[in-house]
């Protein structure tokens, strides 16, 4: 579990996050949602330690990373997997090389063991047979899956995903969402997904944190979102006619 307590972050005198608190639970998919520029990426980067907030606490199972030195942060990062918006695969390495990379850096496994583990992860994300390909030879969805395989190679306790569906078609987006949800439950990972994809929100949002203009505006689940009377949340989630109809249908059904 990761707890973020009262964090504030400014850039060039402009406050981006105002006293934000959130709890990201283990074994479920935690979603941070909000409009572009609302501060959700800063919240994620602060939580993962890429950005240092001015105030607040960030607790990884009780361990406050704000009070840690570089060596301690480095240790905790070995428990973190991250899926970047653009996949961030190493261009010069094959799929197998990318997935084996964290194993080569942080384990004392033999080459055969590393290879077996990497192939297992590649198979787990349904990319069997693609291990010899380079990232440039893969589609966007396949690159995302390789990035997931790399992220889970070290059996992370925490998985961060920055807009995992950006640039993907709806069908592939659903596959990625399902994969992330399955992996989260299978390995009991604390998964945090930063998204503004409404299909993800209504599909896998088990714990949703809505950020609006730098403030934590709302917290709930995908079922509670239909009945919420929070105006900013409704304006954001049910902005399109299709999602408005979905909301009306769900409210009537309940």
């Amino acid at each position: 579990m990761i707890e973020v307590k009262n964090i504030t972050k400014s850039f060039d005198g402009k406050t981006i996050l105002h006293d934000v608190s959130a709890t990201f639970k283990e074994g479920i998919t935690n979603l941070i949602i909000g409009q572009s520029g609302s501060g959700k990426t800063v919240l994620m980067k602060s939580t993962v330690g890429l950005v240092r907030p001015e105030e607040g606490e960030i607790l990884y199972d009780g361990r406050d990373i704000m009070k840690m030195d570089n060596a301690q942060i480095k240790e905790i990062r070995k428990e973190i997997g991250m899926l970047f918006q653009g996949s961030a695969l190493f261009d010069s390495e094959t799929v197998l090389g990318n997935v084996m990379f964290p194993l080569q850096m942080f384990t004392k496994m033999s080459h055969a063991e590393m290879r077996d583990r990497a192939l297992f992860c590649i198979e787990r994300v349904n990319l069997k047979g693609a291990d010899k390909k380079y990232p440039s030879e893969l589609s966007g969805g396949m690159q995302k899956r390789v990035a997931i395989a790399r992220a889970i190679a070290l059996n992370p306790k925490y998985l961060f995903c920055d807009e995992p569906n950006s640039g993907l078609d709806p069908k592939t987006s659903i596959l990625i969402d399902e994969l992330l949800s399955d992996i989260t439950k299978e390995y009991k990972i604390t998964t945090i997904i930063n998204t503004h994809d409404m299909n993800s929100v209504l599909g896998i949002g088990e714990n949703i944190i809505f950020i609006n203009k730098g403030y934590r505006e709302w917290v709930g689940t995908k079922d509670q979102i239909y009945t919420s009377d929070n105006e900013a949340l409704n304006d954001f989630v049910f902005a399109t006619r299709l999602f408005k109809q979905v909301k009306n249908y769900m409210v009537e059904k309940q």
């Binding site: 890429l50 970047f84 850096m105």
Partner: protein
């Protein structure tokens, strides 16, 4: 404002270098990358160095012959002057200015692209010291291979002059070869090699710095690459003056 930002950049460069020169986390991976970088930055530069050196050696010989027309100056002076120019300046300083363009832009654009595509963030999240992991093998590879390139350039430049002597009637081959050997000072070779080590560090570290701190997109990677070449060229010229003053006076 300009001085303040320059000092800030220099401070950032020093902090960056402190991160670069840390003990590699896995020596096996470091040596593997070192060999790759020697191939990419060093071996792949050999054709360019050969072409430039042979032509510049030839041109220096022709110009020396055309400009030293006096019964008081012995004919072997052409070979001697060619050798001195090549050893003292061309194969160390001018060659490094050329390599600043090739190798510097290569390093800055490679690391810059890794920055804008979040590959460096990915390394940091994994707990890898990205500065050391990416930059140290490049700096060490270029430092190790630069003397090879300089010696190679010295030899090929003199071959360029030899070809002029052989295929034209500007200077007899025997006088040119005698000139190459006359009044030889071994220290000049060491001087060229020592200078080139400084310059190779300047090229690889400055290019890495500009690439590592790119912000933005593809356009900014291009700008960083240009800035890296311009800055390292200026620093090479500055250090050329300082080192010449220190080592030859």
């Amino acid at each position: 404002m300009g001085i303040k930002s320059s000092l800030e950049s220099f401070g950032q460069y020093c902090v960056f270098m402190a991160r670069v020169f840390s003990v590699p986390e896995k020596w096996k991976i470091f040596f593997r990358k070192l060999v790759q970088e020697i191939t990419k930055l060093g071996m792949d530069s050999i054709p360019l160095v050969a072409i430039i050196s042979v032509f510049i050696g030839a041109v220096i010989t022709i110009q020396m012959q055309l400009n030293i027309i006096s019964p008081l100056v012995p004919s072997y002076s052409v070979g001697l002057a060619t050798r001195e120019i090549v050893l003292l300046e061309f194969s160390s300083s001018i060659l490094c200015l050329i390599l600043a363009g090739k190798v510097g832009s290569n390093i800055a654009s490679e690391i810059g692209t890794m920055r804008v595509t979040e590959q460096i963030d990915a390394l940091e999240i994994m707990g890898v010291n990205s500065a050391s992991f990416l930059v140290l093998p490049k700096v060490m590879a270029f430092l190790l291979f630069m003397p090879v390139l300089v010696i190679f350039s010295m030899a090929i430049s003199m071959v360029g002059g030899y070809l002029i002597a052989m295929f034209t009637d500007m200077i007899p081959v025997s006088r040119y070869v005698y000139g190459l050997q006359a009044l030889f000072k071994e220290w000049y070779v060491w001087y060229g090699l020592i200078k080139s080590l400084f310059f190779s560090f300047i090229i690889s570290s400055i290019a890495s710095y500009f690439g590592y701190y790119v912000k933005g997109g593809a356009l900014d990677v291009g700008k960083a690459s240009t800035n890296a070449v311009v800055t390292s060229s200026i620093m090479i010229l500055l250090f050329d003056v300082i080192l010449t003053k220190l080592m030859l006076q």
